[in-house]
């Protein structure tokens, strides 16, 4: 937009809000927006424009605070939301469900919307940290449209606390050029090769659920085990593997992209993003099992901008908005209305939508792993070893 007299709708809204908050003078506001010379025209274009800021939907306030995961939204959707409602979305990014829970337990998080994973929701309910949802404020939520497998965890004792965002798997990303073109597709190979020809090239998550889960899968145990003998086996494996690891980090994309690392525990969307940009990086599910997960939108107790929280969730549940999200981040959705809008090659993508029988081998994370002190201590011992 080279035309100097042009001001985008979004820019205009920003200036208007700065003016309302008193951070710019009236003269500055009228100057940059061109309103000084075009008040009559603008009043026609924005019928709701009044000094008291009675813009369409502006009763929801000027902001909404979202706590979410990295690379998990289409930034353009937030801009559209701001254009429609006048509320700006402030995004906080987190690394683990444990961290989210810790912030909410400490109190005063200031969040309006957050994105908990399936296995954490019962704990939030027990701890009284999550708001039961008023579905009348979420007209875009259609329970029948969702695959119950990825929607059930949001409902506790018949009350809807959270509505589905995305689902996915936790598998293995490997650089096939170091393995004769083949993908590594079992946790047995994952750890055995790490202690052999992939030494110094493997990453595991800085996350108890997936890293301990993978070590449990290696031994053929449940991903969710809290059995002391089984955890001891997993710990022995992890301690033995540690000297051969490249890193313990949940931010594994950079090292896979640079070629420093060849193998990592990997979530669906990261696998898709890596595979799209670098085709020799393959994503596979572990043969022994692994994690199947689903994320939800929820509102924490005491959210400061409750109306804006409902507005944002409702906006994100709009199938068209949701479809744009999927195209941006590469995580599948459980909403049939959204899937109907997605291109065939996404719906047939084996990374995003694995064959049903592969999914059956996977397990949802269990609430017990979140609160089990032994798993947390195990990871600390592994990291400090």
């Amino acid at each position: 937009m080279k035309d100097r007299s042009y001001i985008s709708k979004r820019k205009f809204m920003e200036e208007l809000r700065r003016y309302e908050k008193g951070s710019v003078t009236r003269r500055h506001f009228l100057g940059v927006t061109g309103l000084g010379t075009a008040t009559a025209v603008m009043a026609g274009a924005f019928p709701g424009l009044r000094p008291s800021s009675a813009l369409a939907g502006s009763h929801i306030g000027d902001r909404v605070v979202l706590a979410t995961w990295p690379n998990y939204h289409d930034p353009e959707n937030f801009e559209i939301f701001t254009d429609q409602t006048g509320a700006f979305t402030q995004v906080n990014v987190f690394g683990s469900n444990e961290e989210m829970l810790a912030k909410l337990q400490a109190g005063g998080s200031g969040w309006d919307v957050y994105v908990p994973t399936n296995y954490t929701i019962t704990t939030y309910v027990e701890e009284d940290l999550i708001e039961p949802l008023d579905l009348s404020k979420l007209p875009n939520y259609d329970p029948d449209a969702f695959d119950p497998r990825f929607a059930d965890a949001g409902i506790v004792d018949g009350v809807v606390y959270a509505v589905p965002k995305n689902w996915g798997t936790t598998g293995i990303a490997s650089n096939t050029s170091h393995n004769g073109g083949a993908a590594i597709d079992s946790w047995k190979d994952f750890f055995d090769r790490t202690m052999d020809d992939f030494s110094g090239r493997t990453m595991v998550h800085d996350y108890q659920l997936t890293t301990i889960g993978a070590a449990l899968n290696y031994h053929g145990y449940s991903f969710n085990s809290v059995d002391e003998a089984e955890l001891a086996d997993a710990e022995k494996l992890l301690i033995n593997v540690k000297p051969h690891l490249f890193a313990i980090t949940s931010d594994y994309q950079p090292a896979m992209r640079s070629g420093d690392a060849w193998l990592t525990i990997c979530w669906t969307g990261d696998g898709k993003q890596l595979n799209t940009d670098i085709p020799e990086i393959a994503f596979a599910l572990g043969k022994e099992g692994g994690e199947l997960w689903s994320d939800y939108y929820a509102i924490p107790k005491g959210a400061p901008h409750m109306e804006a929280a409902y507005a944002l969730i409702n906006f994100m549940l709009d199938p068209e908005v949701n479809a744009r999200e999927v195209l941006a981040h590469g995580y599948p959705v459980a909403d049939s209305r959204t899937n109907a809008l997605l291109p065939e090659e996404i719906l047939n993508d084996p990374i995003l939508y694995p064959a049903a029988e592969r999914l059956d081998a996977l397990e949802f994370g269990a609430a017990a792993t979140l609160t089990d002190p032994n798993r947390a201590e195990l990871l600390a011992r592994f990291k400090s070893a």
């Binding site: 683990s96 444990e98 961290e99 829970l101 810790a102 912030k103 337990q105 704990t123 027990e126 701890e127 110094g200 800085d206 108890q208 540690k242 690891l245 490249f246 890193a247 313990i248 980090t249 950079p254 090292a255 640079s258 070629g259 420093d260 979140l370 609160t371 002190p373 947390a376 201590e377 990871l379 600390a380 011992r381 990291k383 400090s384 070893a385």
Partner: protein, 283 residues
Amino acid sequence: MTERERNWLLVAPAGAWLLVMLVLPLSVVLIFSFGERAPAGGWVPAFTLEQYANLPARLTAFQNTLTLAPLGTLAALIIAYPLAYQLAVRTDPKWKTILLVLVIVPFWTSILIRSYAWIFILGGQGLPALLGVFGFEGVRLIYTPFAVTVGIVYGYLPLMVFPIYVALDRLDKRLLEASSDLGARPLTTFLRVTLPMSISGIATGCMLVFILLMGEFLIPALLGGGKVFFVGNALVDLFLQSRNWAFGSAVAVMLILVMLVTVTIYMRLIARLSATREDVSIM
């Protein structure tokens, strides 16, 4: 207003600050350290020494910190001293300000972003690739204790440079001439005049860097690839991952005790070192 009242008034702001920002939080930490972890994480009141009994579970973290903090301080000192010396003694005064500003400039950018930059410099496409051109193949730098040390020295260097610079800047340059006139060779002049007179700067710089390093967690996490585990990292994990506030508080209390002991020993050493010289005062 009596002098006594005036003194109280002058001390009041600092006193209130210390009470609210230091004494109260530390008391909370101390109280928490005798409690227990709530079943879903957090804290429940109790009176138990269990958390302190569990401290050996973080022994490695303390060992790593007590190894890398002094090493990092020493490395920063070795690199900072010649730089401060050059700036204070050798540099033309008209360049001094510009060069000093250049030392501070990196502070204008967040340490997080600067540490991230090191990930790419030390990563496979960075320095190791350059070394590969010269025939040194397969050098691994990123996610090693070496990378952590580089990050620490880089991040804390200005804190070491400035106190030493100030000490050397105050040094009366005529003393160096006098030493030379009396027949001392440059090395002797440095060891017997310059170095002893900059001890106060060295002591302050080392103290600043060492204390901050003892609580460091960001650089080990980013440049150590999560494999180099400091007490700071143990604390972050205990509060933000396992939500074991009671044990986390006990680790924090232990860290404070370790610091008090090391810093006291350090102060004693410095005091003894400078006791023979009445012209050097420490802090």
